[in-house]
């Protein structure tokens, strides 16, 4: 099936020019033209994957390991005081394009970037409800099982299927519809 037109895919295909500074079989890394700070970088899977939960495990590991290296590079090259690694997943989280992007944002004091929040007041009961719900759901998804966590991290592509639960596609497709 032909994927919908995606500006990120066009960048990957080089039909739209970009400031690319890294590329391998599965990923590219580019600079944002209008970054939050100079050096604002995007680490992007080449495969058209709209939301983070759909990214296969080996690729999650790869994306964030590259992000970590880019972060170190930014520290070194740009002499910044910090970096944020940031994923916006879904429109409500600020995702703008239907293609997963891991952002690495160079940080300086008072740079106008706001990634902070006001703590929300919750009652003990509300907290317990959330705790239970999340615990249950993680148990259902299955990653919490010992058998898996004690193994070496699956890096091979064929290990992906391990934890995609039933009905995942439908659920994710519904989530996708929220993306412009």
């Amino acid at each position: 099936m032909e994927p919908p037109k995606c500006i990120i895919c066009d960048i990957i295909a080089n039909t739209i020019p970009s400031k690319k500074f890294f590329e391998d079989d599965d990923t590219i890394a580019i600079l944002d033209f209008n970054g939050a700070n100079p050096g604002h970088a995007f680490i992007i899977p080449k495969q058209h994957i709209p939301i983070f939960e759909q990214v296969p495990n080996f690729l999650v590991g790869k994306l964030f390991n590259i992000a970590n290296k880019v972060s170190s590079a930014i520290f070194d090259v740009l002499k910044v005081h910090g970096t944020n690694i940031f994923v916006s997943n879904g429109v409500s989280a600020g995702q703008k394009v239907a293609h997963v992007i891991v952002q690495v944002i160079p940080r300086l004091e008072n740079d106008g970037v706001q990634l902070s929040w006001q703590p929300r007041q919750m009652t003990e009961e509300e907290v317990s409800t959330v705790e239970l719900k999340l615990k249950d759901e993680i148990g259902r998804i299955g990653f919490g099982k010992d058998s898996q966590s004690k193994q070496a991290v699956p890096m091979k592509k064929d290990a992906i299927a391990l934890e995609e639960p039933e009905g995942e596609e439908n659920y994710l497709v519904r989530q996708m519809e929220r993306i412009p």
């Binding site: 100079p38 880019v70 944020n84 409500s92 970037v113 091979k156 592509k157």
Partner: protein, 293 residues
Amino acid sequence: MAQQEMSEEQIKELQEKIKNMSPEELREFQKKQCIFCQIISGKVQSKKIYEDDKSIAILDINPANPGHVLLLPKEHYAIMPQLSEEEIAHIFMVAKTISNACLRALKASGTNILVQNGVAAGQRAQHFMVHIIPRMDKDGVEFRLPQKEVAEDALENIRMKLEEYVGSGKKILQKKQAPAIAQILQKKAEGAGEKQVKDKGLDSQSTLHEPQGAVLQGGSGLSKIHVGASQNPKEPEAEVDSSQPGIKGEKIRQSRSGKKKQPGKKARAAKGGDKGQEETAPNLDDIARLLGG
């Protein structure tokens, strides 16, 4: 808190003491000072929603939204570059699962995944962590990334430097570049150490989780995030934390390089079939080794 009474001499004495510690002693010492290590060991209560042998996920005491999760490696690492590739891969796979659970269980319509490297980036705790924040439309959480103009030649200059640093093709980091990172980290760590000790002398408000509280930018909400977790009464030793980073950066990696060599090699051998991984794997171990020697 007790650290307010610390005199110059006491601070010096403490620094001396820390300097003379073996890497193992230092490590134990750091763990004792770290509230999150105490949460991991169960000494401090938390709302734990996930745990495996390498990582643990708890609810943030001062959440941006209900279901705001802190995901931590069980090992005490202050900064992300100290984690091995395997550990990073593991942590973010868990993050993916938790993000998924937030979407499903809490009917969130999105999530943010956030890492804060350095005080300027909002890091408050001396324990590396990943935030997973469930999001809803108009939930009042405002993350702002301004768009700044960068001159074309300046951007190209950055691009070239990053390309050289990160390397094109498969080898993400060249060995020759490792010392540069090591240097930076060390410098950074030393700098942080000095600065914090100074802060402790001058600014009595500093706490375990706000090592440089005085310089937080606009951190109205953030500055309190983890402090809630430290409501435990065992804080009087917190002052000692101030001198950690300077030494930590160096010695932790020393002890790691000794310990971690074996698993690192094994893991690499095991995934020899996957060429992409094979060629990108060794860097952090190499960095660790260089630091150790």
